[in-house]
């Protein structure tokens, strides 16, 4: 990786962080738990890296690590979204 790519990635990081701060700063307390479990599921985005790592044919060490990563990331993603959805289904306004 050269310095130029790094700088571009840093731009992405900084801008995304600002967006994150703006979006989340005003979330009402009712939604704190779903926000946390929902964002927790998003952090399972490493699943993308895990798929690439688990990608190669054969069975090198790096692939075995990738498969393990993929399993954990899938749990994180699917479990996280499912439980968040289950929670949000319960949030009701007064009829």
């Amino acid at each position: 990786m050269n310095a130029e790519t790094l700088i571009i990635l840093l731009y992405v990081l900084v801008l995304a962080s600002f967006v994150g701060f703006e979006l989340i700063a005003k979330v009402p307390p009712t939604l704190h738990t779903p926000l946390m479990s929902g964002s927790n599921a998003i952090s399972g985005i490493t699943i993308v890296g895990a798929i690439v790592a688990a990608g190669p044919a054969g069975l090198p060490v790096s692939k075995i690590l990738g498969i393990a990563a993929l399993f954990l990331a899938t749990l994180n993603v699917v479990g996280g979204y499912a439980v968040t959805d289950r929670m949000l289904r319960m949030f009701k306004k007064k009829k």
Binding site: G20, T33, I42, A50, A53, V78
Partner: protein, 463 residues
């Protein structure tokens, strides 16, 4: 068609959907759709990645995803709402572990296969990813163990703790520099991994149960940062964007939780709160409390016109949310107004009480935040406190010696009558006496929250 371009455009689309999704997650009316949108974004990112030319072993990948999804869905359906904090804790740990494994896998591939040269920038990002991911992993596992009761939930402190942590961090930094200079010596990398895992355990064990909202939020933030650093390792923007969103949301929640406890983040992380504050309890020894039975409680409710219920962790432990709802329905049928006052750190994770009460079908517009309801206590007949203690302790206003002095609390003592449902006179998490219990307008209703409230409901029905 150019597959690479398709992948890149899909990642861009996924990033946009993640941002829109998390924005919608911030409003009660759109939250559910927001969550689904972000799940769609994840699906797009996954499908796009499968197009990658490096990905050849589809069978293994599909089987792994299938098993992971099945286990994840099953756990998500089975988990009790009172166990939400531990669910978030363990999933968080898995995310961290996954980031570590991806980084190590990439390291292994590069350090072995491509002629033993590794870019310095890549080496730095791999090292960062391993450090943050491993701390997230074991830290979350310890938090999970504490929440689940597998490990003593109290703060575990020992002499020289901070010194040991500082030493470990220093060694990690030295090893990191060594790895960046010469990435081919795996022992150093394994050393970083091992010490990172150890540090994760050591930084969470001194933090006590009631500080868990802060820890869970912070670990959540770490898992985002770990995903972010993995994005740098793989030169992948969608990981960086999604990771940054999670990282900032965790940080914001951490700040909110710290503010609600009037403590700095550093103070929480140093841990041991509640272990060293024995001095202030001496003044509270002469508290004389007044008992009340379920019958009298029911009669008091019957003659009231407004009630504010203050739930705490005790309600979650006793699983009393459903019977509390029955009580609410009954009181409303008698034309008594019922509201809930929610302290930001009630429970073991941010918003814990809101989820439990939602599960019991209590509409969320009945749950009022501390700042909005604090003035209402003065015009309220009964404040009913169920399993909360420190968050209603007036010492936070009146006693400068108290360790919780300055912490924002619910002004329940302003209500005409305060009824405290509590198992025993044991002090709260902070280990301090609650002078509220000795106030002339305060009545103690001893017993398990669930069975006691059930009895009150029974009495009320007969009135």
């Amino acid at each position: 068609m150019d597959l690479k371009l398709i992948i890149q455009v899909s990642y861009l689309l996924a990033s946009i959907l993640f941002i829109v999704g998390i924005k919608m997650l911030g409003k009660t009316a759109t939250a559910r759709r927001g969550n689904i949108l972000s799940a769609v974004a994840m699906l797009i990112a996954v499908l796009a990645t499968l197009l990658d030319s490096q990905v050849l072993s589809f069978t293994e990948i599909f089987i792994t995803i299938l098993i992971g999804s099945a286990v994840g869905t099953y756990a998500a359906q089975k988990i009790k709402m009172t166990q939400m904090p531990e669910m978030v804790g363990i999933l968080n740990g898995f995310g961290g572990a996954s980031s570590v494994l991806v980084a190590i896998s990439e390291y292994w591939k590069q350090a072995h296969n491509s002629g033993l040269t590794m870019d310095a920038i890549v080496a730095v990002t791999v090292v960062l990813s391993v450090i943050i991911g491993s701390i997230t992993f074991t830290g979350s596992m310890v938090a999970f163990g504490k929440l689940r009761g597998l490990i003593n939930g109290h703060a575990i402190v020992f002499k020289g703790q901070h010194l040991i942590n500082a030493m470990i961090l220093l060694i990690i930094l030295v090893l990191s520099v060594l790895v960046v200079i010469n990435p081919n010596i795996e022992v150093w990398m394994m050393g970083i991994l091992f010490l990172g895992l150890l540090l994760g355990v050591l930084v969470v064990i001194p933090i006590g149960g009631a500080d868990m909202p802060v820890v869970i939020s912070l670990l959540n933030s770490y898992s985002g940062v770990a995903a972010c650093t993995t994005g740098f390792v793989l030169n992948n923007q969608v990981l960086i964007i999604a990771g940054a969103l999670v990282g900032t949301s965790g940080i914001i929640l951490t700040q909110i939780m710290c503010k609600a406890m009037n403590r700095s983040l550093a103070n929480v992380l140093m841990g041991g709160f509640g272990q060293t504050v024995g001095t202030s309890s001496t003044s509270g020894e002469d508290i004389v409390v007044k008992d009340i039975g379920v019958e009298e409680t029911a009669m008091l409710f019957d003659s009231a016109s407004s009630v504010i219920i203050v739930p705490g962790y005790g309600m979650a432990v006793a699983q009393a949310q459903h019977v509390v709802r029955e009580l609410t329905d009954l009181l409303e049928k008698k034309n008594i107004s019922v509201k809930f006052a929610i302290h930001p750190v009630a429970g073991r994770m941010p918003g814990h009480m809101n989820v439990l009460l939602a599960e019991a079908n209590i509409p969320y517009d009945k749950l009022i935040e501390m700042d909005d309801i604090n003035d209402e206590f003065a015009n309220t007949d009964i404040a009913l406190i169920i399993g909360a203690n420190d968050v209603v302790n007036p010492a936070a206003h009146t006693n400068p010696q108290s360790p919780i002095f300055g912490m924002p609390v619910l002004n329940v003592d302003n209500a005409r009558t305060v009824i405290v449902c509590k198992r025993s006179m044991n002090a709260g998490y902070a280990g301090i006496e609650n002078e509220l219990f000795g106030y002339p307008n305060c009545l103690m209703l001893f017993g398990d929250a669930k069975s006691t409230m059930a009895k009150v409901v029974g009495e009320l029905k007969e009135l």
